[in-house]
């Protein structure tokens, strides 16, 4: 690499040109190679991510996202983060780590969608129930408190946990940290009672749709508790997910078991689940 022009006589013009050509070739190979390397994590899908509401199909989403973070800035619960270099082409693109902080639609108007300058979060949707981020699944039924017939008492995920949710009865406009909101439940149904879709459905059923707008009313249920009859033992329950589920991740976030018993399958929608059931 190092020129030895200090020791040797000055290089000829031709020799200098040759070395510059070699260096330039190395530069092209280096930068070109590194940029192709950045395609690897994406092409191998090594980092599946839950995307914000309205995100187009993954490839289209990454193509159209300009990596500016305007969606990050408007989210009232700060659910959205920008990915780092390990996400390959997803670097700088928005994602949601639902277990850390899910989207609870407490902005009501899909602010991230409105903020997106490129339509990577499609402007074709206006309401929470129209989004399709993923689909909830009782991934660890064994640990689910409801399945064990147990209740829940205290703070969801302990006093240290920093996640926020909006509780309509406490503050209509501002989300609060959930460590300020203890629960006393005979049977744990957190994933159902805190589901943003179910909350909206309850409001609509009682004649008070969010913002007084009946368009905010989700037409289909997302999740409900189902009774399991088992032989001789106490009554058990399990949360069952329906096609109204949008995959916002609140159930995964608020599940009080050490590992979330209910999880979001990323990019899967109610339609996929229905297809699978038919097969």
């Amino acid at each position: 690499m190092s020129d030895k022009s200090n020791k040797k006589p000055r290089l000829t013009r031709k020799e200098r040109a040759r070395r510059e050509f070699l260096r330039t070739t190395a530069l092209a190979a280096g930068v070109g190679g590194f940029s192709l390397l950045q395609l690897l994590p994406t092409l191998t899908h090594s980092a599946p991510r839950l995307r914000p509401p309205g995100a187009l199909d993954e490839q289209q989403y990454l193509a159209s996202c300009i990596k500016c973070g305007q969606c990050v800035q408007v989210c009232p619960v700060e659910a959205i983060s920008l990915a780092d270099i390990f996400d390959g082409q997803g670097q700088g693109a928005a994602y949601i780590d639902a277990r850390a902080q899910a989207c609870d639609f407490s902005c009501d108007g899909l602010q991230c969608v409105l903020a997106c300058p490129t339509g990577a979060l499609t402007h074709e949707i206006n309401y929470a129930h129209q989004t399709r981020m993923g689909f909830a699944r009782l991934g660890r039924p064994g640990s689910c408190l409801a399945v064990q017939g147990e209740g829940f008492h205290g703070l969801i995920r302990g006093p240290e946990y920093q996640g926020k949710l909006r509780f309509e009865k406490i503050d209509r406009w501002n989300p609060i940290p959930i460590n300020q909101h203890p629960f006393e439940l005979e049977l744990c149904d957190l994933c159902i009672r805190l589901c943003p879709i179910e909350i909206r459905r309850t409001q609509c059923d009682s004649g008070k749709p969010p913002s007084g707008d009946i368009n905010q009313c989700p037409p289909k249920p997302a999740i409900a508790m189902e009774r399991i009859e088992s032989e001789g033992k106490a009554t058990h329950y399990r949360p069952v997910v329906f096609e109204g589920c949008v995959g916002c991740g609140v159930c995964e976030m608020v599940c009080p078991t050490a590992k979330p018993s209910i999880v979001i399958d990323i990019r899967k929608t109610a339609d996929d689940s229905a297809e699978e059931a038919q097969v």
Partner: protein
């Protein structure tokens, strides 16, 4: 206009040659001849004047420029951190008081990868296009780009090390940048991903400043290390397609640096401080085709050459507003 075309080819990497005599206007020719006959007497005096000037002159334009880079980037940070919503987003795309703005190169990457023109993006693109058309194209590089500022610090260290003879500078072929430009455009189109965005230190730095540090900063650090120890201003000079995108805009801009050959000592201090010395080829003795000639579109309007010139031969010029000497 022929000169303009020539300057674009120089930006794309054309090798510099002596200006052919038939391209030099009669008054310029006479002036070159006059200098040739009377120049040698003042050589020592001129060199002295340059040295004194270099040590005593305050770097007015550099101060303003650094202030501008810090202001623009901190405005992004403050807008988000204090939630005052003046400039939301980051350098790739933003809203200024609600108006869409989009970095031209990022917008091009998105359009090539996504293969659709989105209306908000188009509005942002046109806004920024008009803005930099007015202000000089690559003005973005030296007055806004955060990597430019870090790279300037790296350059200072690089020059110190050169003076101590601990390192050598290694140049690359300037055509490389044109090659990268085509490569990244094709890659976006073929792969369907905005691949350059994953490498762009401008985007990485802007996002890291606003949303918190990332591991991707190591890539920026690596680039700076290369620039310190191996090749001066390598990223901006030989790779960055953002610079070339804004360079095309700058070709049509009324804001340029004007060179007046009359008082110039042809000492070449301006070329030594310049990020893109090929735009200053007219300052070489006998090369200026006119008495007043504008620097090419690759010029970032940083004003370093103006700061270092003791004879005021280089000055900002806005077509139609300021008069040439």
């Amino acid at each position: 206009m022929k000169l303009g075309k020539y300057c674009v080819t120089v930006m794309l990497g054309k090798h510099l040659k002596k200006t052919p005599p038939e391209k030099i206007s009669a008054p310029a020719k006479a002036l070159h001849q006059h200098k040739k006959e009377n120049g040698e007497i003042d050589k020592v005096k001129a060199r002295k004047e340059h040295e004194i000037y270099r040590e005593t002159h305050n770097k007015k334009w550099r101060r303003r420029r650094w202030a501008s880079i810090l202001f623009a980037n901190l405005l992004f940070l403050v807008s988000y951190a204090l939630d005052i919503q003046i400039l939301e987003g980051s350098l790739t795309a933003s809203r200024f008081l609600g108006f869409h703005m989009a970095d031209l190169n990022s917008a091009l990457q998105v359009v090539l990868a996504f293969k659709e023109v989105l209306i908000n993006l188009l509005i942002g693109f046109v806004t920024i296009l008009l803005m930099w058309l007015l202000l000089g194209g690559r003005t973005f590089c030296s007055w806004v780009c955060p990597y430019h500022l870090l790279s300037e610090f790296a350059e200072m260290i690089h020059i110190k090390l050169l003076e101590k003879r601990w390192i050598q500078n290694h140049t690359f072929n300037r055509k490389a940048r044109t090659g990268f430009y085509i490569f990244f455009a094709l890659l976006a189109f073929v792969s369907g991903y905005t691949v350059f965005e994953t490498l762009s230190p401008t985007g990485i730095l802007s996002r890291a400043l606003i949303y918190g540090p990332t591991v991707a900063l190591l890539w920026v650090l690596f680039l700076l290390t290369v620039e310190i120890f191996y090749s001066r201003r390598a990223w901006c000079r030989y790779v960055c397609p953002i610079g070339l995108t804004y360079g095309f805009v700058g070709a049509l801009s009324p804001l340029k640096v004007n060179y007046n050959v009359k008082d110039c000592h042809h000492e070449g201090d301006c070329r030594k401080v310049c990020l893109v010395p090929h735009v200053l080829e007219w300052t070489v003795k006998g090369r200026a085709p006119e008495i007043n000639v504008e620097l090419g579109p690759d010029c970032t309007r940083c004003g370093m050459c103006i700061d270092v010139c003791p004879t005021d031969s280089l000055k900002f010029h806005f077509k139609g507003l300021s008069k040439k000497p």
